[in-house]
Symmetry: C2
Subunit: 118 residues, 2 copies
């Protein structure tokens, strides 16, 4: 599933819920919490975390006590603010979408429509 434009929100929200996490754990958490909808590639997540850290939304420390060195991320104050902002943006966006396409959010998983690819 393409997460274009909403990756930061997903990562920030998950980080907030977990308190702290390393990249690999974030990927696993997003996959399981979304029931497989968000199965993000490492090449998607790691650069995004670096970007967020450059932007000051998260900080990281290296945990060398683990079996393998891990980079543990957590939200900063600015990250909390950014998250709140992104959350609001998402809600406005989703509500706008609802108005245009008039869909009901929840729906039992059914067979996917045949993919149309060009």
């Amino acid at each position: 599933m393409d997460v274009r434009g909403h990756l930061d929100l997903l990562l920030l929200a998950t980080l907030q819920r977990l308190g702290e996490a390393h990249g690999y754990a974030l990927i696993a958490e997003l996959r399981s919490s979304s029931d497989g909808v968000f199965d993000l590639a490492e090449g998607t997540v790691y650069p995004a975390l670096h970007r967020l850290e450059r932007g000051g939304a998260v900080t990281s420390v290296t945990d060398r006590t683990a079996a393998r060195p891990r980079r543990i991320y957590r939200l900063t104050g600015a990250g909390q603010t950014l998250l709140a902002d992104r959350r609001t943006q998402w809600q406005v966006f989703a509500e706008g979408m609802r108005k245009i396409i008039g869909t009901v959010p929840a729906r039992p998983a059914g067979p996917a429509n045949p993919a149309v690819t060009w």
Copy 2:
């Protein structure tokens, strides 16, 4: 509002609802129907329509009877299929987002949402 990744769905859904429309009208309709959330630049919409037409999802005819020549778009059969597919994708996506960030887009009390046919 950034529509990254969902522009096609917005355009196709609006075209389906209107039956047919020219680009400028689509922009106006998206702005008003979304209560100002989606205020798209022409430089966003026209190239997207061209892309959709190249892909076979819409066709256009030039209306020369209007005050100014307009390009009238309408959905093709493939466009209907694409729209249904994108709609499903959106619902899966929005439901995934709900699971991660834990919010449901607020819906005003009122008539049930229009039935969505698959």
